[in-house]
Symmetry: C2
Subunit: 257 residues, 2 copies
Amino acid sequence: VLHATGGREACGDMNNLCVVLVRTRNPLNMGAVARAMQNFGVRDLRVVAPYEASFREARSATGAGAVMEEAREFATVADAVADCRLVVGTTAARRRDLQQQVVDLDAAAPLHAAMAECRVALLFGSEKHGLTREDLDHCHWLLRITTEAEQPSMNLGQAAAVCLWALTRPPQQGTAGNSVTGMDPAGRAPAGDLERLGALWMEVLNAAGYVPPRASASTAAEVRRLLRRLRVTDTDTHLLMGMARRLLWRLKAGPRA
Amino acid sequence: VLHATGGREACGDMNNLCVVLVRTRNPLNMGAVARAMQNFGVRDLRVVAPYEASFREARSATGAGAVMEEAREFATVADAVADCRLVVGTTAARRRDLQQQVVDLDAAAPLHAAMAECRVALLFGSEKHGLTREDLDHCHWLLRITTEAEQPSMNLGQAAAVCLWALTRPPQQGTAGNSVTGMDPAGRAPAGDLERLGALWMEVLNAAGYVPPRASASTAAEVRRLLRRLRVTDTDTHLLMGMARRLLWRLKAGPRA
């Protein structure tokens, strides 16, 4: 029993957060993340392609707790975040290949704002490799914890505890609406809709001969990132789906007589 | 490799912090605390009366790291914190028997201020029982992490990570000098001096017949807490030691002729 105080009511905002563990290997780490979630009032744990034995072990552990018992399994990141309007990845900022904006946990006030309005997913990658480029393509932006240069790599359970504690804190005055651009989640389309829209646009682009052979995957990733950068709303999604369907029909039907 | 960024210089303040683990049982938890310390630039790990096998195991673990390798072992809390001018315990605030002021990690700006000026000890108790009353008597004040009422108990490694991350953050504007009283560490005497002063005063009190038989331990604890509440400085210590020595000599020598 460690330096903790009971009595705080679960913050409504934390109910809008879900934690997504992608390809986690170690059952102890899964358990540690679930425990930190219970400490800070986050209930919704989703696991993507876990090592099956680890997931079983974590769930059957004595004292696994309600969060672990109710954890849901998904085959892909896209499935896991389909109902979330804001998807935030966690990653080592030393990586050179990042396409998304990286935000320090200190400056995450806009994440608080998002949590007040819509469902938000916070993704953690595997212990060994973190989130892949493909995982990151599903993210609107990325979150980092500032650490020492000599020992930047954090333990998964500890990283989750730090993130969740920080998110239970009221944001600091004057940091809302800071340098992070395009973070207002109001009206953002759910990730599942973006995914369907992206797939339809890929069909259109393929039908139009836009996509060179062998570049299908990289183009799909490009479209995925584009839709998230653009902050597509529900209305936009509806409009763009209609356009895409019409284009696709026309492309397949051939030129008008 | 998880969402962490290299490049931050070690904060001078963090060099003034030492982490003290009291009667830790699990070598994995020791390792996790050491790892979090390396993540956040804290080098000085001290262990009090650890389970010997656990301490050996934690030190010999592959990748234990410099912090664990250089960890020092002490027999008592008093020995471990002797050179620290501010001693802060971590505890469950639900406890009813606390005599020290409890401060939320959010409101710990004065701890930042202390770390800028003098050596500060942060104590964590055993996984099962936390810090005992006797351990807490060595603390100037107590730190807590606010958690959910239903799951207040945090994992040791995660609690340490949250505390250390929070202490690397610049304190929020306007919270310095807040409701925490008597936290200015400037001029506070080192814990080792307070301990010697307390022991001498106990000798004096005993010699004067102040201490009832069988109340020696509780009186010693009372004196220990008193000296920490009083914010005794180096000058005060010197003065009080002199008074106590004189009193003791007189009490033992008997009344003046």
